[in-house]
Amino acid sequence: MSAIDAPNPYQAQSRSSAVEAAATFPNYLNATGGWKSWLFTGDHKRIAILYIITTTIAFLFGGLAAALVRLELLTPQGDLMSGDGYNKAFSAHGIIMVFMFLVPVVPAVLGNFLVPLMIGAKDLAFPKINLMSWYLYMIGTFFGLYAIIAGGVDTGWTFYTPFSTTTNTNVISAAVGVFIIGFSSIFTGFNFIVTVHKMRAPGLTWFRLPLFIWSMYATSLIMILGTPVIGITVLMVAVERLLHLGVFDPAFGGDPLLFQHLFWFYSHPAVYIMILPGFGIISEVIPAFARRNIFGYSFIAMSSLAIAMVGFFVWGHHLFVSGQSAYAGMVFSALSFVIGVPTAIKVFNWTATLYKGSISFETPMLFALFFIGLFLIGGLTGLFLAAMGLDIHLHDTYFVVAHFHYVMVGGMMLAYLAGIHYWWPKISGRMYPEFLGKLSALIVFVGFHITFFPQFVMGYMGMPRQYHEYVAEFQVYHVLSTAGASVLGVGFLMPVVYLTYSWFYGPRVNSNPFKATGLEWQTSSPPPTTNFVEIPVVTVGPYEYADFEENELVHAR
């Protein structure tokens, strides 16, 4: 095949006759049939598909709760829901989005699908444990959703004590859900670490690994080191409720600050569980559409590890106004600033990767570039909150809400959408509709800013978060925010609809529609059950686009 010669070569290629032949080739989707072949599968790719379905359902539930919250906040009075109803709605939104969607989604969907493919392995190291982690996710999610539907939980996703040990809502089943989902995370992380260590293709040295693998590896480290702490912490909340053991509630002789320390010891690293995989996706997408090697490969790889490690020592920045000592606060503040540096390094490197590229703007690239735009604001506003003097004013206001949505939604969701579109041809064997993809990227970007930017202003003005009713002067910002949320909702629903359509009716693609260099593109789309007909041998780094265009298959020789 020749080098790129058309402005948009992918659509043209997808119609070639060679591609039609590939479609009938046996692959992981048509290898076996029947529901049992899915529910008892050991194939990492099928498990990824199970996760796509379940996490998308979780996302829709979480989004529904968000819609209720935003509608209620349209007016200062509590006219849509009662105080308790509102509290349950935002708790449902937080618990579902954090534990059932953001934490698992990229590792479980894209990580599961891509880790073995990217390192040239036939599967993960422990396929049955992989399947079990999906079942654990399902059981945990069942408990969580049961808690939410059967009466609700009103603690927020943070379960702060002693509120959570005294409220009469379904805290115990939600806590059990979080505990079980935690094991799903631990198993996934453990599986990835073993796989990356032991199952790399011949020639695939650590510094030839794609950056997505580096970021999944760093994420897995956090998952196995941090998750046990949240598990045992929420379990202690449940035990305290049941048996009145004094752990966190001062009424029984416990200490509420202890809960906050333990909770954030996991939950701050957990935000890196959510965002690091996103960094990995962006590091794959940008070189592919800029047609050049990534700038600062080893700096990006090492910055992921640095974030994973330093990320464990910044949790105290959530406790600046909780009664933590001022000097402990200073240490946490300094480290929180330090962790901004590796993050900045990544942004600079992605930007520099565009330099001297040959850039095209398909949907994944648009999402990736919009990601930088949103994540930049999310990251910079994090510095505001790391500063003790400013956090006193901003703590638990809408400024914080805006900040973490810029990181979690603007950052993580856009990265996920970039990744889903980028690897969609590999996952489904079909192309997504390009125009709709670009349109949804634009709608999400615009809707996102309208929704969350006013919240920064409102937060500095003093609007506290988790307020069911509010004083009238904040209404103008809330109206903007709710209006933006409806735009954002459309932007998120579009991919759900057109990707579902594409799954059944999209045009078929060849093995490498984007002409990317990763090993995952060296096998057919969709891949066969064992991933590769012949295990590839790796001879160069992951982003050698110039070499690739010269002789097509740089890895397999």
Binding site: I4, G83, P250, L257, G340, L376, D396
Partner: protein, 392 residues
């Protein structure tokens, strides 16, 4: 009166405390830096995206070497920028936290879902807080149930309020007016209704506002409680009592069983009332019953206020002992006393001598203001007088 609020579409809250301008200044600096990067990086992206877009003449993949110099540059420069932010941010923080021994203390209790305040002379109010302008204020806060948080945006001040111990919020209002007061830590059904107003008044108006009140100040209530709860049977103040002498004990260091030394403060007194077995003074038996559930938060506040007024001990010779005793020596005395049971009362005052006078004199001298300056030798007894004068 309605809270002073900015117009419909303002982006800055009112500045009404001494720290507000420095917080806003730092905020503007942060906004400036962020705006720079938020514009510069997307501009670079757009520039590259246009200049290097795929088009005839630029349709080949390239290899571009990584520049280590560039990598180090954009590691080191951001590092120094964020460290600058760290130092400035911490400086602003310590302005917030600055305690003024002179501060007017107001007892604050958060409960689902209201704020209760009690002023020095005993006057109470709910959800509204009246304070004098240009006067350092110290809210001594505790919660009766779950976590709450005291937040006054116009003051740029906030502090969580906890059920386990006292926390403090220090500030000085600079502009008379009415400002929002929010509960900022989620606390359940009516969290968003746990709001109120801070009314900042001219000092004269504040005194007038206080003046109408004829009830008992907290320490008076505490005195009655001290006898009605029979605290005085053990903490009677004579040697040989079953509990430590409380006279003048606040601010001193006492030796605990197990050898630790603790400074007696609000939190230790509170804990000793509610969980007396937690930290027992050396030489005493853990025989005191818990008053948890027996006394309310208001009553704990009252008891502590009363204990603070107790004159420093008779027969311990505070006034006569100038006591430049080294702290180590005093501690040693205390440790010795552990072995001798009933004599244990003596080391506590001995320790007190070298530790206590400083804060207490400070308190007395500054609170009393222009009142007779020669009170230093009289010690803690004058503190009470000073405090009361200060309020009038």
């Amino acid at each position: 009166m309605n809270p002073q609020v900015p117009s419909d579409f303002d982006i800055f809250p009112v500045q009404a405390s001494t720290v507000a301008p420095s917080v806003d200044m730092f905020y503007l600096f942060m906004v400036g830096i962020s705006t720079f990067f938020t514009i510069a990086i997307p501009l670079a992206i757009i520039y590259f995206a246009v200049k290097y877009r795929r088009r005839p003449g630029n349709d080949k993949a390239r290899r571009v070497e990584t520049s280590t110099v560039l990598e180090i540059t954009w590691t080191v420069i951001p590092f120094f920028i964020v460290m600058g932010m760290f130092f400035w941010g911490s400086r602003v923080y310590f302005l917030h936290g600055a305690e003024d021994p002179n501060a007017l203390e107001i007892l604050t209790t958060g409960k689902k879902w209201m704020w209760k305040f009690q002023h020095k002379n005993g006057r109470r109010e709910i959800n509204d807080l009246h304070i004098p302008v240009n006067t350092p204020i110290r809210l001594k806060m505790a919660s009766e149930d779950v976590l709450h948080s005291m937040f006054v945006p116009a003051f740029r001040q906030k502090q969580d309020v906890m059920p386990g111990r006292y926390t403090y919020l220090n500030f000085e209002a600079t502009r008379p007016g009415v400002y929002h007061l929010f509960c900022n830590q989620y606390c359940g059904t009516q969290h968003s209704n746990m709001i109120g107003k801070v009314v900042v008044m001219e000092p004269g108006d504040y005194q007038k506002w206080l003046g109408g009140f004829t009830g008992d100040p907290p320490e008076k209530v505490g005195e009655q409680l001290f006898s009605s709860l029979a605290c005085n049977t053990c903490h009677a103040g004579d040697s040989g009592a079953r509990g430590p002498v409380l006279n003048g004990i606040v601010g001193t260091k006492v030796a605990l069983q197990g050898g630790n030394i603790i400074t007696v403060d609000d939190n230790y007194l509170r804990e000793s009332i509610l969980q007396p077995e937690a930290k027992v003074v050396a030489g005493y038996q853990p025989i005191m019953p818990s008053f948890s559930g027996v006394v309310t938060q208001d009553q704990v506040n009252a008891l502590i206020a009363y204990i603070k007024t107790l004159p420093a001990g008779q027969a311990t010779g505070v006034a006569s002992a100038p006591a430049p005793t080294a702290a180590g020596e005093a501690a040693a005395t205390a440790t010795n006393a552990e072995t001798t049971g009933s004599e244990a009362v003596t080391p506590a005052p001995a320790v007190r001598q070298d530790v206590a006078p400083e804060p207490e004199n400070n308190d007395a001298a500054t609170t009393a203001g222009e009142a007779a300056g020669s009170e230093t030798s009289a010690g803690a007894a004058q503190t009470t007088a000073g405090e009361q004068q200060g309020v009038q």
